[in-house]
Symmetry: C2
Subunit: 318 residues, 2 copies
């Protein structure tokens, strides 16, 4: 039995990673904002990972063989430019140093499609006839955002450090995700909530192509990456292109309010690339993982979850 | 008068930066391992920059307008792979955050030619007819070493953070340097000392092309970069190619012992690129700086310095 420590364990991905780690037969230790509910097999630890002293004490106490580091600043909207990104670079590096010192064997950290050079992807898209894809080993990495730069920096240094320290290292690059219990301001949650509340729902023109994956598949992908021998960066994504327009129309149909959608009412952001789509060859061949949840099914479950939640909130307020 | 804080101020480059900052009319504050000698105008501070609390206290006490961050782990030989590189990423990011919080206006940090993708340079070299040059805006950045990755990560995150925080930021990418009072194990110092001691001196075959700059020019380049409005990365280098063979033969001639050189006695390291040469267009045009010390003159002064030093050591031991 290997002992795994999961950080960010009460987060969107982290809370879905814990059951998968248990199913893989690991002894699961977790650190996060709040203890997991109904998961008595998970050993919970309180620690402020932004405090290097607390990080060292945690690692010395748990002495994990494996690490899944998901904790990061993720507040919707502000996470792109917040100085908290810088603190999480510092904290993530202190974490992997402490992990190696405590005898850790293999670490997996969360990366992001924002690590890729979005301007280079755009050029490939204009030149080629097929949709451009982000490839781990060939797409240039030149993140323009603070968030992307911080994630890339943390993963790059952790990877080179791990090589020197004799620790296995992999980074799961996450693209777009959605699922139950998502932050209310994020795209799928916001559109579903607004439509279910019967409100007119403005969106962008929706022509941008994205790669959406259900958070449970993202989490299962991380567990598969942890249990594999793959090293370096691996896209954890669907590989299936969908326009944002198709996505929001599907949500509107499932919510029963296609007439409330106001496409084009919001301008797209500056620097927003036309296509962000993953190549998932490494995920399939080297990690041996294939996503299981179809987008339509995952969106239906998500809309149902919000409908139930908003319904019970309405009943509570009667 | 602007107030500048120089870190690494007792280091190889830092000790040469202090007079330049004074000459520029700045109020100069410095932090380093030991107080500067004979520079009473420099205000010295004791602080362990690896301790984030000490860094914040230093910034709040000095409240500098300008920052020249040169401190890093630089022990000859071990600096390529030492975990100290990871700690300096953390510390450098904590430093720039504290600098911005304390009202800082412009920061300059030290980068390295090891940030460039040396494999990509090699490919350009084989394909082209002229020597390939590292260009700040077009040469791929994919450092293979922990040192290069750590420097790149710190500079990338600091740059994106500075953009968000409204702080000007520039990174001076240093190539190869030499000069008075260099660490005894580094190339020019080691060869000069060995030859002056009358010992057979093994070197590599010396076919590799490098970009060498006198440390005083490197330091003056940093001061010019500080006083300019240039942002982003700028190579601080000579732009003049020289083979290591020519370099060591020049030293041998100046030391009076060409017969002691044993070229080819040491194999070149794995991953050692054939050519590492800077494009210095940005340094010249955007910073307005041109190096002043010819390689031959700089090497002569360096050999004389070691001759004097070894001579007085020999006299002391009589």
């Amino acid at each position: 039995v290997s002992r795994v420590l999961v950080t960010g364990a009460s987060g969107f991905i982290g809370s879905c990673v814990l059951p998968g780690c248990l199913k893989s037969g690991h002894e699961v230790h977790a650190v996060g904002r709040e203890p997991p509910q109904g998961q008595s097999e998970v050993r919970w630890h309180r620690a402020d990972l932004l405090d290097p002293t607390a990080t060292v004490a945690l690692m010395e106490s748990v002495r994990p063989d494996l690490l899944v580091h998901l904790a990061w600043y993720a507040e919707h909207g502000s996470f792109w430019t917040s100085p908290e990104n810088v603190r999480w670079v510092e904290s993530s590096l202190a974490l992997i140093r402490a992990f190696a010192l405590a005898g850790g064997r293999r670490a997996v950290m969360a990366g992001t499609c924002a690590e890729y050079d979005w301007t280079a992807i755009g050029e490939e898209g204009r030149a080629g006839k097929t949709l451009p894809r982000c490839r781990e080993l060939s797409t240039p990495l030149n993140p323009q955002t603070l968030y992307g730069a911080a994630k890339y920096a943390a993963n790059l240094v952790a990877q080179r450090f791990a090589q020197s320290a004799g620790v296995e290292f992999a980074c799961g690059r996450v693209f777009f995700l959605y699922g139950l219990d998502e932050q209310a301001g994020r795209l799928v949650a916001a559109v579903a909530r607004s439509l279910l509340a019967g409100e007119p729902t403005p969106t962008t023109d929706g022509t941008q192509v994205r790669d959406f994956l259900n958070v449970q598949d993202v989490a299962d992908g991380f567990v598969a990456l942890l249990d594999s021998e793959a090293q370096g960066s691996v896209n954890i994504a669907s590989g299936q292109p969908v326009t944002v327009g198709t996505l929001v129309e599907t949500i509107a149909r499932l919510a029963g309010h296609p007439e409330l959608l106001r496409r084009g009412a919001i301008p797209r952001g500056a620097g927003d690339p036309d296509v962000l789509l993953a190549d998932v060859t490494r995920l399939g061949k080297e990690v041996g993982f294939t996503p299981r949840i179809e987008l339509e099914d995952g969106l239906a479950a998500t809309v149902d979850w919000w409908r139930e939640r908003l319904g019970s909130a309405a009943r509570d307020s009667i």
